[in-house]
Assembly symmetry: C2
Homo-oligomer: 401 residues x 2
């Protein structure tokens, strides 16, 4: 599946939309930063050699010729004078030091200084931060606050990034009832859970989600919904409608739409699984990856973690697409089905120093929504292991929180 | 400052808006989950005792009386028959086991089974996930995908949470020029950086940001902007305009508006700092925390990390408000000013097993935007330390990424 998806095509976006994205091109400095020498403190700009007498019996003082505030145009220091400057203001030509307010009498017409200034003190020289022509941010960098600060301070209002993948979520099933509405409980309805859970999981993966909501078990409706969403989706996730019984529509509809495989994957939960691509007829070069996950909320979420999340991270341009994992000693034993890799909601405690311990939550053979909500990890038992013994080391996928 | 802010008042929000928020009230199950016994596999619902002969010389078969799909109403198993069920469908009354399709001949009129069923096999009993009356999610829980799945599956369409704090960002200074526009470089303009950087930092802290943009050094304009924003802000951050020179307006304006302190904090960068609260005249009980940070982008970001981010986490209801920190050995030495706690952009490498090493980036006495963009930590040197020696252990604040 990872081989079938790649980073979303680069796009120029404004800084706000670049937050959290991966930079697609190097950012090269077009000018020095700062572009001119700048005062690093509020104080007085001086030629240091003219303050040599300060601090002796007769305090040295200089007449104050000007005030300079940030943004003011270039100014030349008249020999034998000082210029009052604000932190961030351009240093007048001819000045080479700033005497901070605290080391003076704060005079307005004349200023007396406590000690001689050292050339360069409290001055940010031209290009001391960045030199024109330098690559300041490399392609592949994740853009957080500090990287955006650097881009903005270079004057970049837009950046070329792999934009956030847009994921459309479709939940299929006549039995589904929207939470918060009055379910006809006698009708054995089931509250729609997958769309809500995956909306959060998609955002946690750094992508954007559009939850279309509930679709009934109707081939024409499903087909139309998929076609409608292709235009705005970078990836489609369908949950439910995957059983082998005749009323279930997902496999039939997908079979006619693109190159989608429906498989039995050797894992539990999440054994039934569909993956492929569907071409958008309205955009000849666009092909949208599509995942079909089992409707049971634990299966849907485990399949999302194992397959969809890494694909989304790859589409967003990340090179590290997998969640961290740890090796943990089982506190208690449990059984695992033959031929299936088992994912068990679990609590992992410990630290790298003292090692980790893992305890399954609930019945490992029937993981529940409640168990998953209280887990901080998925314990992964290999398809050839039939039992986990107490003390056995188990590979655990660490979930967020 | 932390003592002056508290969690934002709880609000009922739809599930989508609850993602990432802290739950304000316990969620109690109003019904059992599942509310009825459910088939865990596609197959045939049977009374297990009626399959005792399966698997012997004469394969046992039962007539198939019905198909049951998820959402279908209650049904009663006619003794001596089987009912075809889809995974997730309600088990007919009288049935106590599901024989998976794979263990049958998949018959439509009659079904032959390979082996006797064990009572309870492939059945999710009533309340096996959650029992009515149980507290399923406790107040204080962070709501991720898995917790929202549990709430949705209980039928909850809204949850009472501490909503995401809304942060309004104001950047003050006549010298500021919006990135992406053509700066009059001869005029010594400076590209507006703080608003863009803090917009990302606020979102990284889990809050929502509104960047108002650039305001000039004008008391009336600043005062009006602050008053205008109080209605939508849970917290205000002003950057720039904090120098001691007369053109700077922030201290004058804030002095007349609320109980705001302007201090020299014993740290570098970020020595000048304002904090307080301003009452919203239009909402008598609303008082908005306000931070005034120095305009230099490194100072603004360090002050944000040290003071604003923990306040935002507390307002969002988190109990853990600080970033993780590690103790690391200095790879090289540097000097630190007396009387000021020094925050130095740095690279921390290592692991808990082998220990951590910290290397400052650039000149620790003049941290740059570029250094901060390439750092993964801030090394913190105490106000009484005048030097860091190679090999000395330094406390480091670990930044994201």
């Amino acid at each position: 599946m990872l081989a079938s998806v790649g980073p979303v095509a680069p796009l120029d976006v404004v800084l706000r939309d670049a937050v959290g994205c991966i930079l697609a091109d190097d950012v090269t400095a077009t000018h020095d930063l700062p572009a001119f020498a700048v005062a690093a403190r509020d104080g007085y700009a001086v030629a240091a050699y003219e303050t040599a007498g300060a601090g002796y019996a007769s305090a040295q003082s200089l007449p104050v010729a000007h005030d300079v505030r940030p943004g003011a145009g270039p100014l030349r220091l008249v020999p034998g004078t000082a210029v009052r400057v604000a932190s961030g203001a351009a240093l007048p030509l001819g000045a080479d030091a700033v005497v901070p307010l605290e080391e003076t009498d704060r005079g307005a017409a004349r200023v007396a200084m406590q000690r001689p200034a050292v050339p360069g003190q409290h001055v940010r020289p031209v290009a001391s931060d960045v030199r024109a022509g330098d690559v300041v941010l490399e392609a592949g960098t994740r853009l957080g606050a500090r990287q955006l600060a650097l881009a903005a301070s270079m004057g970049r209002g837009r950046l070329r990034v792999h934009p956030t993948p847009r994921v459309v979520l479709l939940s299929v099933g006549d039995e589904l009832v929207e939470p918060g509405t009055h379910a006809d409980r006698s009708g054995h309805g089931v509250f729609e859970t997958d769309g809500h859970a995956l909306e959060a999981a998609v955002r946690d993966a750094g992508a954007a989600s559009v939850r279309v909501g509930i679709l009934g078990d109707d081939r024409a409706v499903l087909r139309e919904a998929i076609e409608d969403q292709l235009v705005r989706a970078d990836l489609l996730v369908i949950t439910g409608g995957l059983s082998e019984l005749t009323h279930d529509t997902v496999k039939d509809v997908l079979a006619t739409m693109g190159s989608v495989r429906l498989d039995q994957v050797a894992m539990t939960p999440g054994q039934r699984h569909g993956f492929g691509t569907v071409a958008d007829d309205l955009a000849s070069d666009k092909s949208v990856p599509i995942f079909a996950l089992q409707g049971h909320p634990v299966a849907a979420q485990v399949s999302f973690e194992v397959f969809v999340r890494p694909a989304l991270r790859a589409m967003a341009g990340h090179t590290e697409v997998f969640r961290p994992s740890v090796a943990a000693e089982a506190v208690e034993g449990w059984v695992s089905p033959p031929g299936l890799r088992q994912f068990v909601p679990a609590t992992v405690l410990g630290s790298p120093d003292e090692g980790y311990r893992v305890t399954p939550i609930g019945d490992p053979s029937a993981p529940t929504v409640s168990a998953l909500a209280h887990a901080n990890a998925l314990a992964v038992v290999g398809e050839h292991d039939l039992t986990v013994h107490p003390g056995q080391v188990v590979h655990c996928l660490v979930l967020e929180g």
